[in-house]
Symmetry: D2
Subunit: 337 residues, 4 copies
């Protein structure tokens, strides 16, 4: 931590701040510049300490020099984390494909979609039983009944299941039906939910909040890791910007950046990331080329009949075509599919 | 709803879309332009219908002409909503002041702050017993013990209490201790929490999500209203932008805009909205001049000792000075304080 | 400047970086922490030096502790700059009002608007002879003919004139007709234009770029000051955010912030800042309460007939009403109008 | 154009608006819904007409259904534009590589960089003789002398030259030295510069403004095309968002989106797009996979000695390695390199 003092801070002020730091258990190194004095602070990073200091007279700002995440950082764990789920390894060389409709609608829709994405090469089936919806008047998901249908998909097709969990009290219920529990973008900082998920050992797919910085995202992962659940997969799904043509702006630079900062696997959701099915193929190829460990793609047997997110869904034929295209891209960056 | 068709959509395509709309129970008006055909759709706005249409071949986009919120809108309820809590009316002519520290820390700190803000003119005491924190290593609040201390503040000082509720399972607990339940910025779209709060009758202070549009914010209010709780107070607290000098960008234009779109009272939190105590007085004056129904301000007896948010807290003397300043501004816009 | 070294930087690396700094003429203070070493660098802030260092192996980042602006900063010039134009002082206690239509359209329109805003209390008439337009097919302004009409307004009404200059080669032409030369939001970083304007002594009104940080804005002012033109007025006019209801998000916190960082006067343009005439009164009041030194407001005798920016213009009657309202607000914050 | 009327607009109001539209030369189709009346307006899109209407009482909003760009749009020109410069075709199957240092610094630096990027496979050499700089105290470029050095590079190495032009009065000078004239991000809406560039026939590389929407970017291209210069290459270089780890957020979805909306070639600048050299390889691969027609990459023989933008430059060895990697990615999406 570095404490930058105000232009013109007196000796008395500087001493008061130094003493305060020492009371807090920190070592202090003073550098007196021409215009400013700075104090180098040696010891553990603590947000509270910074806030205390920033509220003291004479302090202009506090600058952190270490990152706030520990367990999620590469310094703590230099090797890539690989998450094994049945026969599938996430974060190893092979790309994982998670595909399926936005919401569980009916058994017929689900099974048709599931067989199609399996045939195309997906290892995971995705569909929401619990749905966060901006409007209270929109379809809110089939809940428990949806989970049963997802279990049926797994039994019949052998696909692994990824589905969203929206609150801490349904964690155990969803954990019984799902192979991966998804935390949605609106819940990335739902700290109760994160704490509950940190107590289980099932993998968690943590979507980036729609206006979360990379650092906040890794801090949300830190909640999971610090509670003991190391099976965390990050998912970039677009951030909110001023551009109106796309639903979100897919931040693919997050992929190599997170790979540098953290050991956790990262997948990309180009369907929510763009909101337009006709941009999904190009952005899927780009995500693979950027180094993503997998993709999560919305696929619906009949997008115009989807109860939610129709415009961003591929149909099953388009998805199969995309998987073929991705094979070459994956190979060109040393991955397999 | 208006359906804009692709340049070059064939008659067959147009007929297919019209039939689909009629099956959905809509009336359809066709306008054939030089370059584009559009279909005016008569009937209830439904997000699902729009999504179905947008996924159909031949449809370029669907444009809504009505707003998605109903109960929260002024068309539904032309007069201002006034919320009465004991002797205080929110949304009537008198400004309300909610003040206090970010977090409940100790009995001594709490009572000192409470007596000071009461003396300065605040009607509400604010402090968090449950604290959402970006880092799992930060102070997380005193929880139930904090609620007891807040009850003590009410008993001793007569101040009304506003405090945050973070999840649906502590709603009844917090509702016993608080006069207003606050939904924090990270929970604005925690739909389970909103549904639970819609079942009680205690007032809810709904903070705007840090990257929520005005429309999404009013839709979150709609969750509360549609469940039967009409006692909703909106709170602007800054949005996330590219500007790094301030913690958030306080969007004061939200105040007159929400007043036009909705009948609900709006208050402003300049402390989180700027993150810097030395900007709080100017932005408090501006909020009152913009038409806010009240202010929520962080006040701490000793900001450098605060366990959270020190740099944005006023001390009690500064707060008392600010209240004096605000009296003139309030009067100049026809309000009292 | 502080140079933060990588976790695990070797002694050899640290020495190489220290030597480089000394070659550049800097003094160096080393602090060795538990996890990181930092080098405190003593000497003039230079962007180039920072970039050199950031490209060196072993350097994680360079943190500036001084601000990049000098002449524009309060440390350089502690007292408020007051700009005198004829009988008007900008930045002293009295608020200035600049009002008029977006574009110069015709003599009749101009004179009608000018007499009306003068009567309501404005000291400055604003209207564009040169207009930056997103579309090449839109009305581009009357140019030189527009300037003549503005001169006529000054002669007939005695109002002072503020009008936009769009490129360095019309600076002298516009300077002959105008009392204040306005730099538009798209030209805030047109450095040729700034350099040319730095050579004259006429006051320049520098609008904030629509996505410019406060620091970039003050650096644009620094171009003007460093060339010798100290008559600089800053104008907040809204920044680009994700919110679609308003054309821009008016950042009123920029007013007190700029007042702390700089000695230059600041005015606010709520017309472009919101894009909606029905938000202009509330945001004008708020700007005054926040401490703005003046307002720039679009006023058109007949907004539905305006050739540009109709929806954000007040009509002359609305403007006169607003000025009345503002008198009380100004008084309540110790200003006059 | 669609005119949406206010809830409760009277017949008289509706008639007045219809008549106004007819006076303006538009055809009008009325649709009367349950809650709102809308008017479908048939005729040419005109911004001014929309603004007139939006300022009329009774009008809630005007919705455009056609896009504002014409010549830049695919409807006008369905086939891809291919720009031929000497032996190189931009927008055909082969990827183009533009590489070199941020600024022209010296002959030795330039030639070393040029030979290295040529050997690695680049067809274009990029370096700035004129440099837009945020600070007036930063290195501003070698100007005319820099252009001479670039001409020398072309003579000696045979590389084609791309360099920035910053104002309309140096267009002819830069056009003599350069094969492509670059418009920088801060000048995307410098309409005088665009108009001047529209009169020449040399290709223009138009960088996206750092907070420009896709539509504004294509409208800037429209300035060039409407003046007669059809040789326009678009360049995505990152947009401004709230994320602080990267200098900008590279919006790769702009690549397929622009390809759908427009016939113009699109290249990507991952160096400015991320600001960090260690993210450049991944984002270069991703850009190619997304369908970009080429890349513009900063390469410096010795990044720590660069006078600007050191931290985002690759050294020549890294660039050569990247080109090798890109060959496979290009092939996997049907392109050659």
């Amino acid at each position: 931590m570095i404490v930058v003092l105000n232009h013109g801070a007196t000796e008395e002020t500087i001493n008061r701040i130094s003493e305060k730091l020492q009371q807090m258990g920190y070592g202090v190194h003073r550098s007196t510049g021409k215009k400013r004095t700075i104090l180098g602070v040696i010891g553990e990073r603590r947000e509270e300490a910074a806030q205390t200091l920033e509220a003291m007279p004479g302090v202009e700002k506090v600058v952190f020099i270490t990152r706030p995440f520990k367990l999620a950082g590469r310094e703590f764990h230099p090797d890539n984390t690989v998450i094994e789920i049945g026969p599938v390894k996430i974060g190893a060389g092979e790309l994982v494909l998670m595909a399926g409709p936005c919401a569980v609608e009916s058994e017929a829709q689900l099974l048709e979609a599931a067989w199609a994405v399996k045939e195309a090469g997906a290892q995971f089936f995705r569909a929401g039983a619990y749905k966060p919806r901006t409007s209270p008047y929109s379809f809110q998901g089939l809940a428990r009944k949806g989970l049963s249908l997802l279990e049926k998909v797994r039994r019949e097709t052998g696909l692994l299941i990824v589905t969203e969990v929206m609150d801490q009290f349904t964690v155990s219920e969803v954990a019984e039906s799902a192979d991966i529990l998804q935390v949605g973008t609106r819940n990335m900082q739902n700290f109760y939910l994160l704490r509950e998920l940190s107590k289980i050992r099932k993998p968690v797919l943590l979507k980036r909040g729609m206006s979360a910085t990379i650092e906040e995202w890794l801090m949300a992962a830190e909640y999971l890791l610090s509670g003991g659940n190391y099976n965390v997969i990050l998912c970039e799904r677009g951030i909110r910007t001023f551009e109106p043509y796309t639903r979100n702006t897919l931040d693919l630079s997050a992929v190599p950046l997170v790979k540098q900062l953290s050991h956790l696997p990262v997948i990309v959701d180009p369907s929510h990331g763009t909101g337009k099915s006709n941009l999904v193929p190009a952005m899927s190829r780009a995500a693979v080329a950027a180094g993503a460990d997998g993709l999560m793609i919305e696929v619906h047997p009949n997008p115009p009949e989807a109860l939610s997110d129709g415009p961003q869904s591929l149909d099953t034929r388009q998805f199969a075509g995309l998987v073929e295209e991705l094979k070459g891209v994956a190979q060109s960056v040393g991955r397999t599919l």
